[in-house]
C-alpha cells in the first residue's frame, strides 16, 4: 500500500523558518515562533520562571522571567514574547535591571509564602526555594500578617491543596483546561484573595490529576500518598518506563530505603510529553506487595522453598515429551518475550503459545508485529499531532491507554478531525465526533452508508491517505474492520493493545502462528530465516490461541500449563473454564512475582524479578522499544524472566544461545530487524449476528487488577463500583431506571449490578467493566469478550419518596 518513508513518523513534516537572535551576547538560531525563554535554554541560559511550562500556553502571570530586549523601554517577560530576527536580549546574567526586577518579583512572591520548607514535600526540589536561595533577599522587609488559609484542602482523595504556599501561577488550572480537559480546578476570587479552588462537592476526578502535583512549582498541590513521606535528597531514583499500559510513558521511580514511594513523569516529547496518568503515578505498590514471592517453590506435600536448580529441573522434567501450553501475560519485557518464543519453539517444542488477551485475525497481529520491527510502518505519537484526520475504532483511549488520549486531545487542539467508532462515547467527546455502534458492528459502520458524519470523515481519510491515521483497539472485530478501512484508504494503521508488553510479545512471536519479527511459521522462507538463527524449530502446524490452550487444558489435552506473568482465573474470558484448566493439567508452572490465586494449582513457582529490578526494553503501542534501567537488584533470588527461560532450556539439556543481555540483544537484532514483508490480506469481517442485547466489557483504568492493589487513595479517587450501562430505550423496555439493580444473565453465569442509563452507549449494548469491585465480568463470559445477555430488573423500583419524615402531621 502506501510508500512509507524509511523512518517512522513522517506525516505532514513541514519546512521550518529559522530566526537568529542574540541572548547575553550568544547567537542562537531557533525556529520562528520560539519563545525567548526557550531560545535561552538553547544557549544554556536558564531564565527563572514559575508559570511558564513548555507544554502549556504562555500565561505571563508570575512575572519572574523578565528580560531586557534592546530597543524596548519596558522589561519583557521571556515566556510570552517570541523571538525576532536580530533581537538582542539580556537576561539576569548580563543586565542588572533584569536581575533587580527578578529579585523584586521574588520578594513579592515570598510575601505571603509560609516559608515552611522544612515540612514541605517540595522542599529540596522546589523552584521557589531554589530561587530564593540563589538570589532572594536574606531577610524579608515584610512585617505584616501573612494570608492564612485552612490546609490542606482535599481536591480529591489523591490531591491536597495548600493555598498558603500557592504562587497562583495557574499551571494546574491550565493543565486541566488545556491538557486533560477535565476542568475541575479554577481560580476563584481576585486580587490578593485569588485562590485555586474546585466547585463545592466536586472531586478532581480525573485520571490525570497527579500531573498538577508534579507541575506545581511550589508545594501547594501535594499528593496524599507522598505527603510527609520523604525528602527528595533521601531518595534513590531510576529512569524507567511505566508498565501499566502500552503508552510507554517515561517515568522516574523514587525509592526510599528499599520502598518505592513515588513515581514521576519524565519529559519525552516523542512519547508522553511531560505527563503520566494517575495509575502510572500512584499504583506502584505491586512490586513490594506482601504477596511477592522471591524464592522458587516446588510442590512436595505443600509448596516448599527450593533452589532455582531444583525448580528448573522440575520444569524441564515435566515438559520433557509432554504436551505443553504456554500462556504469557501482557507485561513481559521485549527480551523476555523473545526468549520465551525461542524456548517454546526450540526446547518445549510447542506452538501452543500465546500472550493475547484478545485474539485477532492474523493480518492484524502481523501488521502490529511488523510495525514493531520496522518503524516506517508504525504510527507514532508525533504522527497523530500532524494528522489532519484520525479514526479511533474500538478503543476507549482515556481508560485503556491514557496518554494516547491526551495526545489525541492535543491533535484535536491542533486541528485534527477525530472520529471515534466505539460502543460507548468516550471522554474525547468534547474534541471528537462519536459514532456509537454495538461491538462487532464496526465493519458494517465503517463500510459506509450508516452514518453520514463517518462517511464524510472517511472521505477525508481517503483524501489525506497516509497522512491520516487509524487507531484500532481491542473491541472484538474492531481491529479487523479498521485494518480493512486502512487498506482501502491508504491511511496509516496501528493496533493499540492495552498492555505494556503486548507489542513486544507480538514482535517476538509469543503467538501461536507468528514467530519473531512477524514471520509466519507456516511460511517456508520466513521459517528458514528463523532457523538460520535458532536452528530447527517446532513443526509448522499452527498452535492454539490463548482460549483454546485453556480449553485444551480443561479437556485433558495438555500435560503442562506454563503460566508466565498471567493469572487465567482473572484474565481468561471464562472464569469457570480457567479453573477447570488449572485443575485438569498434570503440571502448572507459575513464573511471576507472586502466586496469588494460583497457589492451590501451582506445581512449581519460578520467582521473576520485577520491572524495577530489570535492565531491558519495553515496546509501546507505537512499536517504540524503550530501555528500562534497574532501580535495585532483584528481590530475594528472583531472576529476570529471560534468564529463567534460559535456565529451563539448560535444565532440559539445551542452550538458548545467550547468557548475557548483550548476547541476547545481538541475537534479537538479527531477527527483529526490518525485513521485506508483504502485508497479510485482510479478509472482510462478516458482521456478527446481532443478539437482542450484547454484553460488552473491557477493563477500566482503575480496577481490581493486581497492579492497583493497595492503592487506597487512588481507588478512593477513581475506582467505580461495578455497573451495567444501558441505553434508555433498552432500559425502559425492561422497566429499568438509572441506579436500579439489574440481573444480567448469560450462558456462563449471572450477576446483579446497578444500572446506569445513558444515551452515551449504542442501543442493544450492555457495558460492564471487566473487573470493578462487585463483579468480575469474566464470570459472565464464555471465551469471548462479548456475550448475548438478558437483563431484567432485580429489585422493585423505589417507591416515590414519601413526603417528609415523622414529624409531618
Amino acid at each position: 500500500m502506501s510508500s512509507a518513508p524509511s523512518s517512522g513518523g513522517a506525516i505532514g513534516r513541514t519546512k521550518v523558518d529559522l530566526v537568529t537572535l542574540s541572548i547575553d551576547g550568544n547567537e542562537v538560531t531557533v525556529p520562528k515562533g520560539t519563545l525567548i525563554i526557550r531560545a535561552a535554554e538553547q544557549v544554556g541560559v536558564e531564565i527563572p520562571r514559575f508559570c511558564d511550562h513548555p507544554y502549556l500556553a504562555p500565561a505571563g502571570a508570575c512575572r519572574q522571567c523578565y528580560v531586557q530586549i534592546e530597543g524596548q523601554p519596558k522589561l519583557a517577560t521571556s515566556c510570552t514574547v517570541t523571538v525576532a530576527p536580530g533581537m538582542i536580549v539580556a537576561t539576569q546574567n548580563t543586565s542588572e535591571e533584569v536581575r533587580e526586577a527578578q529579585v523584586a518579583n521574588l520578594e513579592f512572591l515570598l510575601l505571603n509564602h509560609p516559608l515552611d520548607c522544612p515540612v514541605c514535600d517540595r522542599g529540596g526540589e522546589c523552584p521557589l526555594q531554589d530561587q530564593a536561595l540563589a538570589f532572594g533577599p536574606g531577610e524579608s522587609r515584610f512585617t505584616e500578617a501573612k494570608r492564612v488559609y485552612p490546609k490542606p484542602i482535599p481536591m480529591s482523595p489523591l490531591i491536597g491543596l495548600d493555598r498558603e504556599r500557592c504562587v497562583l501561577c495557574a499551571r494546574c488550572t491550565r493543565f486541566c483546561d488545556e491538557i486533560s480537559g477535565d476542568r475541575f480546578l479554577e481560580l476563584y476570587a481576585r486580587g490578593a484573595g485569588e485562590r485555586v479552588s474546585i466547585a463545592a462537592g466536586e472531586d478532581l476526578r480525573s485520571p490525570f490529576s497527579g500531573n498538577v502535583v508534579q507541575i506545581c512549582p511550589v508545594g501547594a498541590l501535594t499528593a496524599t500518598p507522598y505527603r510527609f513521606v520523604a525528602r527528595p535528597f533521601d531518595l534513590t531514583s531510576a529512569d524507567s518506563v511505566c508498565r501499566h499500559c502500552s503508552a510507554g510513558c517515561n517515568v522516574r521511580v523514587d525509592e526510599r530505603r528499599g520502598d518505592v514511594v513515588r513515581v514521576l513523569a519524565r519529559d519525552n516529547p516523542e512519547v508522553n510529553d511531560a505527563w503520566i496518568c494517575d495509575k502510572g503515578r500512584f499504583a506502584f505498590l505491586h512490586d513490594d506487595a506482601p504477596g511477592r514471592v522471591t524464592t522458587p517453590l516446588v510442590r512436595d506435600h505443600g509448596l516448599e522453598p527450593a533452589s532455582f536448580g531444583e525448580a528448573l529441573l522440575q520444569v524441564a522434567d515435566a515438559c520433557r515429551q509432554a504436551r505443553v501450553g504456554v500462556l504469557a501475560g501482557g507485561r513481559l519485557l521485549d527480551e523476555d518475550a523473545y526468549a520465551l518464543s525461542k524456548l517454546a519453539r526450540t526446547v518445549l517444542r510447542t506452538n501452543d503459545l500465546d500472550h493475547r488477551r484478545m485474539a485477532q485475525p492474523l493480518a492484524v497481529d502481523r501488521r502490529a508485529a511488523l510495525s514493531a520491527v520496522d518503524r516506517s510502518r508504525a504510527v507514532t505519537y508525533r504522527d497523530l499531532e500532524r494528522a489532519p484526520v484520525i479514526l479511533v475504532v474500538g478503543l476507549d483511549a482515556e481508560q485503556e491507554v491514557p496518554i494516547l488520549h491526551l495526545r489525541l486531545r492535543k491533535a484535536a487542539a491542533r486541528g485534527a478531525r477525530i472520529v471515534v467508532v466505539h460502543p460507548r462515547v468516550t471522554r474525547l467527546r468534547d474534541v471528537a465526533e462519536h459514532v456509537v455502534c454495538p461491538p462487532g458492528d464496526e465493519a458494517r459502520v465503517l463500510g459506509g452508508g450508516v452514518d453520514a458524519r463517518l462517511d464524510d470523515a472517511l472521505a477525508a481519510v481517503r483524501a489525506a491517505a497516509d497522512a491520516a491515521a487509524i487507531l484500532a483497539g481491542e473491541r472484538p472485530g474492531a481491529a479487523a474492520a479498521a485494518l480493512t478501512t486502512a487498506a482501502a484508504t491508504g491511511a496509516r494503521f496501528a493496533y493499540v493493545t492495552r498492555r505494556a508488553g503486548d507489542r513486544g510479545a507480538l514482535a517476538a512471536g509469543v503467538h501461536p502462528t507468528l514467530g519473531p519479527g512477524g514471520r509466519r511459521l507456516d511460511d517456508a522462507s520466513a521459517r528458514a530465516e528463523i532457523e538460520t538463527v535458532w536452528g530447527p524449530v517446532m513443526a509448522a502446524d499452527a498452535g492454539r490461541d490463548a482460549i483454546d490452550i485453556v480449553r485444551a487444558a480443561a479437556a485433558h489435552e495438555l500435560d503442562v500449563l506454563y503460566l508466565v506473568g498471567v493469572d487465567p482465573l482473572r484474565d481468561v474470558p471464562d472464569a469457570a473454564l480457567a479453573r477447570r484448566a488449572l485443575q485438569n493439567v498434570e503440571t502448572v508452572v507459575v513464573q511471576s512475582l507472586e502466586l496469588g490465586d494460583l497457589e492451590p494449582f501451582a506445581s512449581v513457582f519460578l520467582p521473576a524479578a520485577s520491572l524495577l529490578e530489570r535492565d531491558g526494553h519495553v515496546s509501546d503501542w507505537e512499536g517504540r522499544s524503550q530501555r528500562v534501567r534497574p532501580l535495585r537488584s532483584p528481590a530475594g533470588i528472583s531472576r529476570p524472566d529471560w534468564e529463567i527461560f534460559a535456565g529451563v532450556a539448560a535444565a532440559a539439556g539445551a542452550d538458548l544461545g545467550f547468557e548475557t543481555l548483550d548476547e541476547l540483544h545481538d541475537e534479537m537484532g538479527r531477527l527483529l530487524a526490518p525485513h521485506a514483508a508483504t502485508d497479510e490480506p485482510i479478509e472482510p469481517e462478516t458482521p456478527a449476528v446481532r443478539d437482542e442485547l450484547t454484553l460488552c466489557t473491557y477493563p477500566l483504568l482503575i480496577d481490581e487488577g493486581r497492579m492497583s492493589e493497595g492503592t487506597a487513595e487512588l481507588k478512593a479517587a477513581l475506582e467505580e463500583p461495578a455497573f451495567a450501562e444501558m441505553h434508555p430505550s433498552d432500559a425502559s423496555a425492561r422497566g429499568l431506571a438509572d441506579g436500579l439493580g439489574a440481573r444480567l444473565r448469560t450462558d456462563a453465569g449471572e450477576a446483579t449490578v446497578a444500572v446506569r442509563v445513558t444515551e452515551d452507549i449504542a442501543p442493544g449494548t450492555v457495558f460492564v467493566p471487566f473487573n470493578q469491585p462487585g463483579l468480575a465480568a469474566n464470570t459472565l463470559l464464555s471465551g469471548a469478550f462479548t456475550a448475548a445477555v438478558t437483563v431484567e430488573a432485580a429489585d422493585e423500583p423505589e417507591p416515590a419518596v414519601a413526603a417528609a419524615g415523622g414529624d409531618a402531621a
Binding site: A104, L109, R190, G191, E194
Partner: protein, 430 residues
C-alpha cells in the same frame, strides 16, 4: 471660557433621552448618511477627524477601525466599553443617561465601518439605571428601524446586545472585558493576538469607549474639518471632564482639548471649595500621576499632560486642598487597586496588597524610617512590571505622591502620626 457644546448640546433637553426627542434634535441623521457611504469612506472620515480614543489611551479611532481584517471568514464585532470604573470618572454615565441614542448611533456607524452585524454594549455592573436607560433605547431603536435587520432602510443588519458586567474594574481593560463578555474570568489576555485580529470569540473586534463613539455621529454628519475646529492639532475635538473633590461646582463638563486646568478649575469648577488652597490634583482619574499647584496652567490634552509627567486618562480631575493628606489619599487609591487587582500577576496582586498595608501603617502613625524607601521600591517594582496597565495605576499613585510630597511621607514617620490629624490624646488612668 466658552466651548461649543457638542456631546452635551442636548443636555438641556429632557426629551433627548427618548428616540423622538433625539430624532427631533437631528439624531440618526448621521446614521442615514453613513448607510449611504462605503465602509472605507466612514473609516477615512473618522481618520481625517483625528478623533482619539477617550477611554484613556488616546489611540486614533479611525486607525483602530482600519486595522480590522475583513477577509478572515469570521464575523467582526464592535464592543462598547461602558465599564466606566475609574475613581473620579462618571461622564460616560451622564452621557448615556441624558442621550443614550447618540451612543447607539455611534455604535451603529462603527458597525457599518467594519462590517459588523452584532455589537455588544458592555455595561459596568453597578450601572443598573444606565443599563435600563440603554435597554429602553435599544428597544426604541429597533422599533424605529435604526437597529435590526434593516438599518435605516439599508438592508444591512446590526444587532445590539447589552451585557452587564459583574462589578470589576479590570473589565474596563479591553481584553479582560472580552473574557468577561465570553463568560470567562475577567482577567486580561495575552497580546498578541490583538483584539482587532482575534478579539471576541477569536474574531476581529473593535472596542471603543462610550465617549469616543458618541463623537462619531457629528463627525459623519458635520465632517472632519468641523470636528477639528475645536481642540488642538494633535488632540482635536472636545473632551468630557469630570471634576470632583475640593471644588465649588463638581460635575461633568465638556471642554475643548487643550483648555488649561486653571480655567477648568476656576471657571467650570467654580474655584477651590471654600476658598481653599490647591494642593494636588489628578488629571485623569486616580490611575494618572497626581500633579500639584505648580501645574495649574497645564493644558488638558494628551501631549501637554504627558510632558507634565502625567496622562489625560479619562479626564477625571480630582482636586485636593491643603487639608487633604497625600498619604491618606494614596492609601485610599492604592487600596482601591489592591481590591480591584484581578490576581493574575504577581506585582499587581502582591505589590498593591503590600503597599496598602504599608500606607495604612504610615497614615496611622506606625511608619518606620525604612518605609519611605520601601514605598519608593514598591512604586519602582510595580511600574511597567505587570501583565496589564492596572498596576501602573497603583505605581502612578505611589510614585507621583512620593515625587511631589516626599516630605509629607517623612513627616508621618517623624511625628508618628498624620500631620493633618490631631495628635491622638492618650488618656492615662490615674
Amino acid at each position: 471660557m466658552t466651548t461649543e457644546a457638542r456631546l452635551t448640546r442636548n443636555w438641556g433637553n429632557p426629551e433627548a433621552v427618548g428616540i423622538d426627542g433625539y430624532v427631533a434634535a437631528g439624531g440618526y441623521e448621521a446614521l442615514r448618511t453613513a448607510v449611504g457611504m462605503t465602509d472605507a469612506d466612514i473609516v477615512e472620515q473618522v481618520k481625517a477627524s483625528g478623533l482619539r480614543g477617550r477611554g484613556g489611551a488616546g489611540f486614533p479611532t479611525g486607525m483602530k477601525w482600519g486595522f480590522v481584517p475583513r477577509d478572515t471568514g469570521k464575523p467582526t464585532y464592535v464592543v462598547v466599553n461602558f465599564d466606566e470604573s475609574e475613581p473620579g470618572t462618571c461622564n460616560n454615565r451622564e452621557l448615556v443617561e441624558r442621550e443614550p441614542h447618540r451612543l447607539l448611533e455611534g455604535t451603529a456607524i462603527a458597525a457599518l465601518a467594519i462590517g459588523c452585524e452584532t455589537a455588544f454594549l458592555y455595561v459596568r455592573g453597578e450601572y443598573l439605571w444606565q443599563s435600563i436607560v440603554l435597554e429602553r433605547a435599544v428597544k426604541e431603536a429597533y422599533a424605529k428601524g435604526f437597529l435590526g435587520a434593516d438599518v435605516a432602510g439599508s438592508g444591512k443588519r446590526i444587532d445590539v446586545v447589552l451585557h452587564r458586567g459583574a462589578g470589576a474594574y479590570i473589565c474596563g481593560e479591553e481584553t479582560a472585558l472580552l473574557n468577561s463578555l465570553e463568560g470567562l474570568r475577567g482577567q486580561p489576555r495575552l497580546r498578541p493576538p490583538f483584539p482587532a485580529v482575534e478579539g471576541l470569540y477569536a474574531s476581529p473586534t473593535v472596542i471603543n469607549n462610550v465617549e469616543t463613539l458618541m463623537n462619531v455621529p457629528d463627525i459623519i454628519a458635520r465632517g472632519a474639518d468641523w470636528f477639528r475646529e475645536v481642540g488642538t492639532e494633535k488632540s482635536p475635538g472636545t473632551k468630557m471632564v469630570t471634576i470632583s473633590g475640593k471644588v465649588e461646582r463638581p460635575g461633568n463638563y465638556e471642554i475643548a482639548l487643550g483648555t488649561p486646568f486653571r480655567s477648568v478649575l476656576e471657571e467650570l469648577g467654580g474655584g477651590m471649595l471654600g476658598g481653599g488652597t490647591l494642593k494636588a490634583w489628578t488629571p485623569g482619574g486616580s490611575s494618572t500621576p497626581m500633579l500639584t499647584a505648580a501645574h495649574i496652567d497645564t493644558a488638558l490634552d494628551y501631549e501637554s499632560l504627558a510632558a507634565a509627567g502625567s496622562l489625560l486618562g479619562t479626564a477625571a480631575i480630582m482636586v485636593m486642598d491643603e487639608t487633604d493628606c497625600v498619604v491618606d489619599c494614596a492609601q485610599r487609591m492604592v487600596a482601591f487597586y489592591a481590591h480591584e487587582s484581578c490576581g493574575k500577576c504577581t506585582p499587581c496582586r502582591e505589590g498593591s496588597w503590600w503597599a496598602t498595608r504599608v500606607l495604612e501603617r504610615l497614615e496611622d502613625g506606625y511608619g518606620k524610617p525604612a518605609d519611605v524607601p520601601l514605598m519608593h521600591d514598591m512604586g519602582k517594582n510595580t511600574l511597567f512590571r505587570a501583565f496589564c496597565a492596572l498596576a501602573d495605576g497603583t505605581a502612578a499613585v505611589i510614585n507621583s505622591s512620593l515625587q511631589h510630597f516626599a516630605e509629607e511621607y517623612e513627616e508621618h514617620v517623624r511625628l508618628g502620626r498624620c500631620p493633618l490629624r490631631e495628635a491622638p490624646v492618650v488618656e492615662v488612668a490615674s
